[in-house]
């Protein structure tokens, strides 16, 4: 990552029983950074601290190397797109967009025209804001925030009140408008698809602390802890003591005997995660791929859940007392091609390079 443009250092904020703990975060200039985390993890509180709407008890907020912590919200150069957009109901669309402009300057008017064209707002300009659709409101609020020429724009779950059909189109439009203007964005969401699609870099927050920061690939393929993995929807998380094996350390947990892709000291407490897309159904008529060979398990299909774009499969090991032991995820057509059905006996293989070893085992694991 290049030199950080927005940097948060050891930010500490306590309100009631909630505590933001030593938050560190960095966004490069022009980057689209997604702050991802479950509801109640402190994302919105952090945004309010950055904006100067809440006063953190400790830590620094640096923008272009300048400590903006002591500045009031109006002098921080941070734009804000709140969750419910907060368009001023006593002003029409045009007046809302112009709200942050200081007088009529040529640069301001040019930017305004560009925003109106980019976000296709021309037909809305004379309308009141009360009768706009969710998507229209979002675009007007975005134009209003960008028209004030912020150095960083903070977007707080801006799509949460928008219908799913409209949402996906708005993801693209929003990101295009922000990146075309070269503005750095910090976008908070709890939606995994939104985060995956929009974020060049991501920071995951869990219970008031940063759990992981990294590129999209790092976060989604190598979660740093069991908590991050669980938030990303990965259910194949196993803990136990490792023993030496031939191709790598071995983790025996429940009915599973997993050969890992790394060596761990014998007897070390070990936690691992296997993404559901890294477990493959093995066809009986084809040879088993090399990377699957060491972790092949027999059992039955406990349940199949066909979703619009993918299929979830719950796999139960032979003689397992659990409702299921592994969760698999694959494209819908695979189900048809392999003729999978509930109760069917199958073999599955875990793709060894995809096994994620967590550096710190969970307490009590």
């Amino acid at each position: 990552m290049s030199e950080p443009w927005l940097r948060v250092e050891n930010l500490d904020f306590r309100i009631g029983s909630f505590h933001l703990r030593r938050v560190n975060l960095a966004c490069a200039r022009g980057e689209y950074h997604v702050l991802l985390g479950p509801t109640g993890s402190g994302k919105s509180t952090l945004i309010k601290c950055l904006l100067g709407l809440q006063r953190p008890q400790a830590g620094r907020i640096l923008l272009a190397e300048e400590n903006i912590g002591p500045s009031p919200p109006e002098r921080r150069g941070l734009g804000y797109l709140p969750q419910h957009h907060a368009l001023f109901p006593h002003l029409d669309v045009a007046a809302n967009i112009r709200f942050g402009l200081r007088g009529k300057t040529e640069a301001g008017e040019t930017l305004l025209r560009r925003l109106v064209d980019m976000l296709k707002l021309e037909p809305l300009l004379r309308r009141g804001v009360r009768d706009l659709s969710g998507g229209e409101r979002q675009k007007v609020a975005l134009a209003r925030a960008l028209a004030a020429r912020p150095r960083v724009i903070l977007l707080d779950e801006p799509f949460s009140s928008i219908d799913p059909g409209e949402r996906r189109l708005l993801w693209f439009e929003t990101r295009r408008a922000i990146t075309e203007l070269g503005i750095t964005a910090l976008h908070i969401t709890h939606d995994l698809d939104e985060a995956h699609l929009l974020g060049e870099r991501l920071t995951v927050m869990i219970t008031g602390a940063v759990a992981q920061s990294g590129t999209r690939a790092e976060i989604f393929t190598r979660p740093a802890s069991a908590a991050v993995a669980r938030f990303l929807g990965y259910r194949n998380i196993f803990s136990g003591k490792s023993t030496p094996g031939r191709g790598g350390s071995v983790l025996e947990t429940g009915g599973l005997r997993l050969v890992l892709n790394e060596w761990r000291p014998a007897g070390a407490q070990t936690s691992v995660c296997v993404r559901p897309q890294d477990i493959k159904v093995i066809r009986e008529d084809t040879p088993v791929q090399e990377n699957l060979r060491e972790n092949v398990f027999s059992g039955t299909i406990a349940a199949l859940y066909p979703l619009p774009e993918l299929c979830l499969l719950h796999f139960r090991l032979e003689h397992s007392p659990e409702p299921f032991d592994l969760e698999l995820r694959f494209p819908v057509y695979i189900r048809e091609r392999l003729g999978l059905r509930d109760g069917q006996k199958i073999r599955v293989g875990i793709w060894k390079p995809g096994i994620v070893l967590f550096p710190d085992p969970e307490p009590g694991a």
Binding site: L51, E74, G79, Y80, A86, F88, H90, F99, A148
Partner: protein
Amino acid sequence: MAAMNRTFTAVLIASTAALALFFLLLIGSTALELGRGGFVSPPDLSRIAFAVRLSLLTATAAAAAALVCSIPVAYLLARREFRGKNLLDTLLDLPLVLSPIALGAMLLVFFKTPAGALLERMIGPVVFEVRGIIVAQFCVVIGLAIRLLKTSFESVDPQYEEVSRTLGMDRARTFFRVTLPLARRGIVAAFLLVWARAIGEFGATMTLAGATTLKTETIPVSIYLNFATADIASALVFILLLIAVSLSLLFALRKIGGWRYV
């Protein structure tokens, strides 16, 4: 179950109808009594005009002053948390619970103190003067004005102010460009209610400004003076005038949508 529902609805309707009927009877009996005549002396139109004019003038001045003074206080109470806020809130509620005659007496005593004398030097003579009516009405309605405006400001979502700040507006500009326009309906409604309360004020006015015919004679003072001289019919004319003004105001209030503050 259906019978229970019907009985419950019937009780609601009957209670409402009984209360409405009671007030209509009050107004009707006043009008009937007036229709029977019985004026001690023919109604003095210039005196009526004086009382109406004075009432409108003083109530408007008192309501405007109360509104101007209570806007910053109400905004502070609505938006900030600080030590002693509850104490301040309780103190400002005093005019709401205190009998107006007691408030008038306290004002009379206050204007005998050096602080009161200083205030009189600044704004002119108050005791037994028209200014006294405005001061008395102001003190009686200020608590109500603060309560109503606080509710209006609380009903403005703070997020609008937060967004305005991030768009480069400082606190003052945010207040004038966002908060005040968004609270305008509540402010207009508050003004009308405070005005209506001021126009009917008697106890504090009577104590501080006195009841001098054609000098400090507002509509309620006129009613009192006419009753004191047993000129019931003339008193009733003023009562009906007061009813007409009050009902028009309350009707206007509902029209502008400020009904929820009533």
